[in-house]
Point group: none
Chain length 184, copies 2
DNA sequence: GTAATATGAATGAATG
DNA sequence: CATTCATTCATATTAC
């Protein structure tokens, strides 16, 4: 009865997820089950893409990337998705930590990419390096969507929730006997 | 992509969620501010509702759901709203991201029960059809309400609206970066 | 063996 | 409804 909150998700016992490593990576140790751990080649490709300016690949690109990367080992699309999400988030995260120091001496541990991150404007952190454009020619990102945006129909967007005042519970009584889910 | 304000009000205060290992009530950790941490019961109810076919509850339903769920812990209406939004979106995302692997056993543990329910309608409740109220019996509701059926909002199965017409392979220039990336 | 770190995975919240 | 950001959890790896 306890728990039931934190570690209820990870299980799998490694039946389906197995295989890790897949084809001939060998760099990993075990790679039994659990989470995906990328091979060196996969990491390199992903890093190259990231350094080339790709930050948030679209679904199509994610599919293509994972397909290509599957040659180096087992991988799923969501792995690519998460990788970019995490990579970008942590870049930003580190930068935020740095900016929040006033007296503490920060330890610049490692700086993989030689990026002189001087935030000219604290308001919005732009890309640290703007010299990634050349490689961008690699990607035909000219996939213009002619009419993907105009299909937007705004349904009820539930504007009320943003205002936390939002008085809803006219009856704030917790009456277990009142009615549970029969209200629906 | 604008700045959109940095809501830094809620500092994390380093509360280790779940570490308490106590009784599954996540709200005890933060309690102050920070994001909503649903309890197991709340998640179960929401999941049941979702599995029952409810995908986009109206404002009215949302307020009722949150009111009833507040019995299990702190909750707001917007939490319910976001929960359904996210759950629906991620179900669809998962289906999409996983389509490229030969592994067909992508059975999520939360889909244990094999109740085949096909949602085929996307309109508002045109006609009340009673086929999704099963989970409601999980709760000790004393008042049987024949109008329960009208809660059910059938899911729109949604098809690919992306009429992809962008040209592919227009520029297949070999790039110095990596040949393997030319697929993008 | 434990602590610290790195990172994959998940999800709440928000925006367009 | 889709996409993205921020925070957190979980685990593998490394350091002590």
């Amino acid at each position: 009865m306890e728990e039931a909150g934190m570690s209820a998700f990870c299980l799998k016992a490694g039946s389906v997820r197995g295989g890790g490593g897949g084809g001939g990576n060998g760099s990993t140790t075990g790679t039994k089950c659990g989470r995906w751990n990328p091979t060196s080649e996969q990491v390199k490709v992903l890093t190259d893409l990231f350094r080339s300016g790709l930050r948030t690949p679209s679904t199509d690109q994610i599919q293509k990337i994972s397909t290509q990367l599957s040659f180096y080992g087992k991988i799923e699309s969501k792995n690519v998705f998460y990788w970019f999400q995490n990579h970008k988030a942590r870049e930003r995260q580190k930068r935020r930590r740095v900016s929040c120091i006033d007296e503490k001496d920060l330890i610049l541990q490692d700086e993989k990419i030689s990026s002189v991150k001087h935030f000219t404007d604290m308001n919005r952190y732009s890309e640290p390096e703007r010299s990634v454009i050349e490689t961008l020619q690699l990607f035909p990102l000219n996939s213009f969507d002619p009419e993907s945006e105009k299909l937007r129909l705004h349904a009820n967007d539930y504007k009320e929730i943003t205002g936390f005042s939002y008085k809803i519970g006219t009856e704030m009584e917790h009456s277990p006997l009142d009615l549970r889910l029969s209200f629906l």
